[in-house]
Amino acid sequence: MNGSKKVAKKNIAVYGIYAFADSHYYLSIPQMSELLKKTARFTNYVFLPTLIFIAWWFVTEHEYFPPVIMPSMKAVAASFLKQLESGQLSRDILVSLIRVAKGFSIAAALGISLGLLMGVSKTINRFFALPLNSIRQIPIIAWIPLVILWCGIGELSKVVIIVLGAFFPVLVNTVFGITQVPKDYIEVGRLFRISRWKMFTKIYLPSAIPAIFEGLKLGLSNSWMIVVAAEIIAASSGIGYRINDARSLMQSEVVIVGILIIGLIGLVLDQAFVWGAKLLTPWARTK
């Protein structure tokens, strides 16, 4: 009796060791450290956001501020669902996105074409450099009153303001992209006596594409920020209008929903651009 108990105990102990040893077969040490690394990286990403949410929950739970000023997460979520159901949120977003699409595409077309011209021709560059560089220093917000005076408070003024805001980063990066083409490549072009047109399409343009994309990305995120600013100042629709309208009605949860959505859409636009750029420049992909 006594002896068999001992054996059983020993078996359990042995089994335990085996179980432990077995896990090593399924997950080797390098694999485990890889998993740990991934977990650590993930934690690294989400740590601060989690902290912010906890702080938010804590502050609202104890009502350190009146709910009208600092709404709870629950109230914000409820407002989000309500706006989503009524279709108000998607209408607001759509209106703003259409404005961005119009303004940004005009700015991109203007910025790239003028940038290319200024990049290849020193004469054209000098002709435009002084006025463009001075205008560039003016904050876009400062244009809004003048644009409203000239174009009214309709759709046109919003598009014009977006064009102003998105044009310069596209222009500046395009010019930079063209002028920083490695001399080595130009030398090869000269060596093969390729035509000026081919020099442009085969050397200057592709070499400048990453910089142009960078400009477009900046321009797009500018457009998104500017449309919201313009809508806050003068509009009767759009996500910017919504948060300003909610502010006047003391609906802080609607304001916060709007702010979070603005941030989220900005992030999505930015990421979409990064992916698009990668897709269009297969040579830039690392091995």
Partner: protein
């Protein structure tokens, strides 16, 4: 392929070049004079910055010399043209073009089928058949350099200039590339001028090895290498020549015993 390059002698006549660096004049090339037969393989050895690359760029037409002239097949050269190709230490393929598009860079105004025939012929010559649609970053250093050779050779140049073409490759690939270049040279009969600071490489490849001094870059000596190819790098005559050339680069300058080492 049938080419008549017998009269395509390259004459470098009293070429001088001075650069201005920080307001001081630096004489880079001083009275460089050499006549190169059609189909000859010339290697130029010298310290880095001795003006070897400048000389090649002048031959290519990428730079102008201050005085003197470069004459190919009886005509003075003015600017780059298809008669002279050049290969650099880095392959300088365009990363946004596929290998085939890169090699086709200099092929213009040629019917498509003929163009494709030329391209596949030269890709085969440099052993890159099957890599037409690859991008340069997918190739190894040696492969990229071979693609760069094909890019120059499709134009069927009379002279090919190689500016330390294997300098960025590791020692084993270097040896392999030296074989490649000899094979291509024997097949294409292109005049080759290769700049290197590897004396061994120069002796393995060249009909004549030109030794250049630095500041100013001037021709110190020209060694005729009449050893049959493929050359044995360990043979006595090879090593003797090597010692003789090395003597130019030892701190003492040009010791007397190297004179006896010359065949």
């Amino acid at each position: 392929m049938t080419k008549n390059k017998m009269s395509d002698t390259l004459i470098i006549k009293n070429v001088n070049k001075t650069f201005e660096v920080n307001r001081t004049k630096v004489e880079v090339l001083h009275h460089v004079d050499i006549e190169i037969r059609s189909g000859e393989f010339i290697c130029i050895v010298g310290h880095s910055g001795c003006g070897k690359s400048t000389l090649l760029k002048i031959i290519a037409g990428l730079l102008e010399c201050d005085s003197g002239s470069v004459i190919l097949a009886g005509k003075a050269r003015r600017g780059p043209d298809v008669d002279v190709g050049m290969i650099f230490q880095d392959h300088r393929l365009f990363p946004w073009l596929t290998i085939k598009e890169n090699v086709a860079l200099g092929l213009d105004n040629i019917p498509k089928d003929r163009r494709n025939r030329i391209l596949s012929e030269y890709l085969a010559l440099v052993n890159l058949t099957g890599f037409e649609t690859a991008y340069p970053h997918q190739l190894s250093g040696g492969m990229a350099q071979r693609a760069s050779m094909a890019r120059s050779l499709v134009n069927n140049p009379k002279v090919l200039l190689l500016d330390e073409p294997f300098g960025a490759l590791d020692a084993l690939i270097r040896v392999q590339m030296q074989h490649e270049i000899l094979r291509i040279w024997e097949k294409e009969k292109t005049t080759m001028i290769l700049v290197t600071h590897d004396i061994d490489e120069a002796l393995y490849l060249a009909d004549r090895v030109v030794v250049m001094s630095s500041r100013p870059g001037a021709i110190l000596d020209i060694f005729q290498v009449s050893l049959p190819r493929p050359r044995d790098r360990a043979s006595a005559s090879f090593l003797n020549l090597k010692a003789a050339i090395y003597a130019y680069f030892t701190p003492a300058g040009h010791p007397a015993e190297s004179e006896t080492a010359r065949p």
